[in-house]
């Protein structure tokens, strides 16, 4: 009798025993098992001779998917590590990263690919049997001799008019149409789009290649427009020369993947490239996953979740824009994809490359300490492209009218006259962030969150940008009855309206989550900008990253001051990164760029550093502050969060949790429970406890002792709680 130890997607930190009914299912393979009154998909973790459960209680599995490739051991090992490190139940960790189709009870397989190959007859007769004048048939014959199977796509690349010739060859019994079972590997074709590297790029590449194929963390710090992507591609070209080796490229946002995808496809036409992100449909995701696992996909490009994609033979991992906050998962297992990528590289003993114009302070610190190896690109790749001039507009002196100061408006006008493009950056979508009653000072609140509702004027709606709550704009103030309510402050919609009034000849395009909702909206927007059909872009952070618009020479930044005085100690780091990125949109080609930032605090050191494009100095001064304040990366943190519809059970749970922590908190600091900035979110009352430790080890030791006790607290059932290791938001 064989006992299967199975991981299930349930919030319990253990595995479940089932009887194998002779299927012979192996560890890493899927099984369908009865669980309570339901059936669930689980992953077999081990086969054992006995169970701690009495035999009578053991249930047999319902179904085993023995034909599927088991999840490889390194993937399971990585997930086990993550489960331990992030203190999240292993079953949920494991099942949570699988593509949705693999969590359903149906067999999962790749569609059968068909290809053409030479028959044994053709092999014996040889190419001599093909008439000399049938040149096309000879070409195809030679190609088929070189690689065992060719797909339609491959044949088209060899010669677009292959169909009639191949038909004749099939008729003569030389070629047969067969299913492809083994993954095809094709050599890296000489790339048509190779760009020359400048000396800095070349040096960075050479350093990585010289260090060999083993584990190393590289931090590629390259200013905006310095050609980091080109370095990635040269690195991949070199690393993927070895047949069957694979690369994983992580990108922060789905929005950026289409651009990167087309660049990679143009560069590596012979390699199978797989995209993985959450907006793909379920079968695309499944097939991408399976192709990565069986080794067919040579390059996997994906967002956060794809860091767990099994690879048969990984050679290198690249994390683009490594500082980006979207790498941090904010629910379920709260992992950092960048940190997981580093751990995965370490386990696989392969190099990992982190790239950014504004590295996270954690990575910067590691590079300063010599744990990561720093590569610097300090010049723009297009040698004639200078860095933009960054200036502030003192809004205490030049009062902006309708949000836009005259200086900024004049600069936009002059761009308009020269036929160049401007970008107005404001990190707030909607019409205005506040609906105010001037008679009694009432502002429209979200009933479910500690937040204000945002006015979306064109739709006459108020929307909460935190929970999605939506309502009609009230005809009068619910507090005093005054109908004359005022939208106060500026969002993208209002700015668009203001500009349309002030610059009536300009073609204005708004780019935010509302205007880019349609599926191909971003692609169309990019094309419009490239075709010079747009004069002024008004947009949110959506526009800050990755876009390369050569005719864009002015970036105006509206209202960033709130971030200067945020209680979040990472706010300055994020603001600098964001402004650097958005500034990087200006002047990427021959024309010089200018960046104008409207602020009430032009003397803030952040703006001085920005003006000098001096990330290093700014980062080092922030690190000094962090060291003095004993904040990360000079300490290690975990956050216990709890929430419930009422505050009382949250309070009770947190009180108990804090009490338990006292017993073994010699090496950590456990702070008192506090309400986060958003006290209520989505109808839930929230509270949190911060834990700080000098070393990762003492933090982990504490959590290992503490978290299991939390699971057993009776108060834990009345709240939703979670542990966030290395939290990025508070």
């Amino acid at each position: 009798m064989t006992i299967l130890r199975v991981a299930l997607d349930v919030p319990l930190a253990r595995l479940f025993d089932y009887l194998d009914t002779g299927s012979g299912v192996q560890p890493g393979q899927r099984v369908l098992v009865p669980f309570g009154r339901r059936q669930m998909i689980g992953i077999v973790m081990g086969r054992h001779a006995s169970s701690d459960m009495p035999d009578a209680k053991l249930k047999p599995i319902d179904r085993a998917f023995v034909d599927e490739n088991p999840l490889p051991a390194p993937t399971l090992k990585l997930l086990k590590f993550c489960s331990d490190y992030y203190h999240y139940p292993f079953g949920q960790t494991l099942l949570g990263v699988l593509p949705p189709r693999l969590r359903e009870g149906e067999p999962a397989a790749l569609p059968v690919n068909m290809g053409f190959r030479l028959t044994p007859l053709a092999m014996t007769e040889g190419i001599e049997s093909v008439p000399k004048r049938a040149a096309l048939q000879r070409t195809l014959f030679e190609a088929l001799q070189q690689s065992p199977i060719l797909t339609q796509a491959m044949l088209t690349r060899i010669t677009p008019g292959w169909r009639p010739a191949l038909k004749q060859m099939i008729a003569k019994g030389w070629v047969e149409h067969v299913a492809i079972t083994a993954p095809l590997s094709s050599p890296i074709a000489p790339s048509p789009a190779t760009q020359m590297l400048n000396s800095e790029q070349q040096q960075a590449l050479q350093n990585m290649l010289d260090a060999g194929p083993d584990f190393n963390v590289w931090l590629l710090y390259g200013i905006t427009g310095s050609g980091k992507t080109e370095v990635y591609m040269h690195l991949l070209e070199a690393m993927l020369q070895t047949p069957e080796r694979q690369a994983l490229v992580l990108v922060p946002e789905i929005n950026l993947t289409p651009q990167l995808e087309s660049r990679f496809r143009a560069r590596f036409p012979g390699l199978s490239i797989v995209m993985l992100h959450s907006q793909m449909n379920e079968s695309e995701r499944l097939h991408g996953w399976l192709r990565a696992q069986n080794g067919e996909a040579r390059i996997v490009i994906g967002t956060r979740l794809s860091v767990f994609t099994p690879l048969k033979n990984p050679a290198v991992i690249i994390v683009d824009e490594e500082h980006d906050s979207s790498y941090k998962q904010q629910d379920g297992m709260r992992y950092s994809a960048r940190d997981v990528a580093i751990m995965r590289s370490k386990m696989a003993n392969i190099p990992v490359l982190l790239g950014s114009a504004t590295p996270s302070l954690e990575s910067w610190h590691n590079a300063q300490e010599g744990r990561y190896r720093l590569l610097t690109l300090s010049q723009r790749a297009v040698s004639s492209a200078a860095l933009p001039d960054i200036h502030t507009i003192d809004t205490r002196i030049v009062r902006p009218e309708d949000g836009v100061s005259d200086v900024l408006l004049k600069s936009m006008e002059s761009r308009l006259e020269r036929g160049e493009q401007s970008l107005l950056f404001i990190n707030r979508r909607g019409y205005s962030p506040v609906l105010l009653c001037s008679a009694c000072a009432w502002v429209a609140p979200c009933t479910r969150c500690s937040a204000r509702l945002v006015v979306h004027l064109r739709q006459r709606r108020l929307r909460c940008h935190h929970c999605g709550h939506e309502q009609r704009i009230p005809p009068q103030c619910p507090s005093c009855g005054n109908p004359d309510l005022h939208p106060t402050g500026h969002g993208t919609q209002r700015l668009e309206e203001v500009l349309a009034q002030r610059l009536p000849n300009a073609r204005i395009l708004r780019v935010d989550r509302d205007s880019m909702r349609r599926k191909h909206a971003i692609k169309e927007m990019t094309a419009q900008v490239h075709a010079n059909e747009v004069d002024i872009l008004v947009g949110t952070q959506m526009l800050a990253k990755g876009h390369d618009f050569p005719n864009l020479t002015l970036v105006g930044v509206i209202d960033t001051d709130s971030a200067l005085f945020s209680p979040d100690f990472r706010a300055a780091e994020r603001l600098f990164a964001q402004l650097m990125q958005v500034a990087g949109r200006a002047g990427r080609a021959e024309k010089p760029g200018v960046v104008l930032i409207q602020t009430n605090f032009p003397d803030h050191p952040l703006f001085h550093a920005l003006h000098r494009h001096d990330f290093a100095e700014f980062a080092n001064s922030l690190l000094d502050e962090r060291r003095m304040a004993h904040f990360p990366p000079y300490c290690h943190e975990a956050l216990l969060r709890a929430e419930a519809t009422d505050y009382a059970p949250v309070r009770a749970f947190m009180g108990k949790a804090q009490g338990l922590a006292r017993d073994f908190s010699q090496h950590v600091t456990v702070y008192d429970p506090v309400r986060p900035q958003m006290e209520r979110l989505k109808g839930m009352e929230r509270e949190q406890v911060l834990i700080q430790a000098d070393t990762r080890k003492s933090l982990q030791q504490f959590l290992q002792a503490w978290v299991p006790l939390l699971r057993d607290l009776p108060q834990a059932n009345k709240v939703r709680w979670s542990i966030d290791v290395d939290p990025s938001e508070y």
Partner: protein
Amino acid sequence: MNSNRLVLTGEVTEVAELRYTPAGIPVISLTLKHASRQIEAGMQRKVECEVPAIAMAKLAEKAKGLKAGDIAEVAGFLAKRSLNSRQLILHINELEIIEKG
């Protein structure tokens, strides 16, 4: 304390552009210049004042037709301009155009 009613005849000196509240109610601001003779302490005297006024909804549509120089008789209530303001504004709830200027 329910009484709050002012009846005033005056010459329109300014009419702002029609605007809308976020919920779509039309709003218009205007200024009326009033001049008349009134009785005080049993004696007749001259009175002059300029009164800022506001009209909404149908009355705003009606007031939109006013031009500087028109004479109108309005009635309404007084309210302060905003929470921390000491300035009063006449909120019109009756409007009659007496004479086109």
